[in-house]
Symmetry: C2
Subunit: 390 residues, 2 copies
Amino acid sequence: MTTRTASWLPLSPGERAVALEVLVHGPLSRSEIARRLSLSAGSLTRLTKPLLESGLLVEVPEGAPLAEVRQGRPSQPLDIVAESRSFVGFKITEDMVYGVVTTLRSEIVTRYDRPLATHDPHRVADQLGEMTAELARAYPGLAGIGIGVGGLVQDRAVVGESAFLSWRDVRLAELVEERTGLPVVVENDVSALVEAETWFGAGRGLDRFAVLTIGAGIGYGLVLGGKRVPCAEEDRGFGRHWIVNPNGPLTPDGARGSAVSLLTIPSIRYQIRAATGRDMTYEEILARSAEGEPMPARVIDEAARALGALVAQISNFVIPQKILLAGEGVGLMDVAGEVVWETIHAHRHPLADPVHLETKVSDFHDWARGAAVLAIQVLVLGNGAGVNAE
Amino acid sequence: MTTRTASWLPLSPGERAVALEVLVHGPLSRSEIARRLSLSAGSLTRLTKPLLESGLLVEVPEGAPLAEVRQGRPSQPLDIVAESRSFVGFKITEDMVYGVVTTLRSEIVTRYDRPLATHDPHRVADQLGEMTAELARAYPGLAGIGIGVGGLVQDRAVVGESAFLSWRDVRLAELVEERTGLPVVVENDVSALVEAETWFGAGRGLDRFAVLTIGAGIGYGLVLGGKRVPCAEEDRGFGRHWIVNPNGPLTPDGARGSAVSLLTIPSIRYQIRAATGRDMTYEEILARSAEGEPMPARVIDEAARALGALVAQISNFVIPQKILLAGEGVGLMDVAGEVVWETIHAHRHPLADPVHLETKVSDFHDWARGAAVLAIQVLVLGNGAGVNAE
DNA sequence: CCACTTACTTTTGGGGCGGAATAATTGTGG
DNA sequence: CCACAATTATTCCGCCCCAAAAGTAAGTGG
């Protein structure tokens, strides 16, 4: 039961691959791992031995459920001790810091939020440090911190530009490391969510996987070959120029008929406000649309068609195995899912593979969890170097 | 100077990687190959020695041009003897068979076309056999045959369905192999072109690469991580349901405002015919549009906008390093390239990476060359197995 | 002619993998 | 109750392939 706080760095590539496979795909027997990684049974014994000795993996007592009617020597599933390390994830918004503590498997153990009183970088770092200190009392085994911020983030460490915080070139990772002594990763929030879903969520084990988020803005992430594809505009707001319907509405953000104008929560609220003079919440608009009130129904219908067109375009051109729809705005699917699907089908070849669309409601703690996953990645893969190398 | 007609099969993976690198990226010195494949200099000596001995590679006398002002021992570039093997590629259309002979590097050495008098599978195979026999007289070192067909092709051997030939489940590879004694690969024509461009053309060495063809129909191919992504509808006509402009024209093929209706040569000619009652060739329409004649100009303008929107969508969602535009219809770019680019920019984030769009005029011999590349791949990679494995 | 640079070759040592033989552990069938 | 089959894991050995280091080759510049 060694408790190395450092990292998994002294692992050989083979060992790391085994650890990663077990971490991401749950308890697995040695022979199962051998099949997945196309290694021989002998290699597996060799690779797992040091991992078991170091306490990173354990043999689990084989929960009977997968017993079946198999004969032969029973397999001995291996598992990661997910609770052996804890990670902190923060999501910074304009007026709040949302925090979570997760296990190695990115399961949320605790939530802890606090209002953000100031935007001064040092004061924000102070607050993150204090929150971490308080969390550390309950979870002494903290191994790293991930921070998600909307905006442009460089080298997983520096906030190059963030409009809502009025930050430019803030070395946030450094500031928080100084205060906590823990390794810190900073990343754009959408990128973090995509990484999290790739490792532990809907994109687990997939080769081609796309994430579309709708909420205050549009987010998009593409994962190919298990790696997220970096994109120049990813930190500056997707969808402002994705013209879905040239005759669509004009809103303060985004070009006429763009995904932003048609789909984001602020734009939808703006459209209702402009048309009716009344200010409604997004939920209210959805509810009234479901009840058939004409104006909300028209706006929501248009949004659903736009969403369907986007999903179809992604399906047609990226040919992903799965598309994940996430964010605060996915309630749209509950109210207008049928219209979305109709539009998808209208934009797809009838013989094309069916679109595998998964919807996931996300609150701010999911964004924070995404940030925590980055800290996990850094620990598991060795210090961040080369993670987002092209 | 051994002349093994078989294949490169007895090569180790390392040797094959070296051979492939030299084949695809031209003459390279050992140290350059070492850098590209991240191998040590020592490994390269080891790997290249058997390749040189077997005559697959040769040391070229270093054509002075790349001399530069370098000091040190001059490098000794290695090259494939591209002429050591020849390959035949056929493209079958409704009334013609286009044939080419290429080198190992897929350079076209000879063209040889013949009208296709019948669609009977055995007679077609007879004709392909005869054409191959005639070509074999001039090029005795034929090592394989590739055949490109529009339609659904299974296992690189069987034409599952081809509308214009009225074929169903024709085991074309088998039929031609019987007549020629050479290994035969059959593939959908668009797929073949994409493979060819990936190995020897615009997509060489790229990680993410998309091909869009416009001509009698729309073609699309995606290459990720150097491998073409298979797609369920690829053999049944892309673009019939890619709705680019919901208010666009309605044509016999494709849904209203679809890429097919807006962009394919038959649809453009149909639009002009429907509007003016006159039948014009595609070239004529392009010419008159350039001269400002209103009706052709309108149709071409609309087509250009559609093309721009498609390219932008691909850029936005796939984030490719390059998009290749090919086919018989790319003359559109010459006449209306500006409109296309305007539309692309209107659909892209201003801070996004610039779109790298390459245009390539293709005639039927390019399609045949694409088919020949498949034969090259089979020889180089070992008999086709696993090439299109998911 | 000698230092210096770069390219290639040879040799050596070691890591890691596959494969065969063995042990462990259970179910099956007489 | 005991072989026997089936399956998983372990041990051991040999091979392959690679990196590192040291040596050789071939040129440039003072």
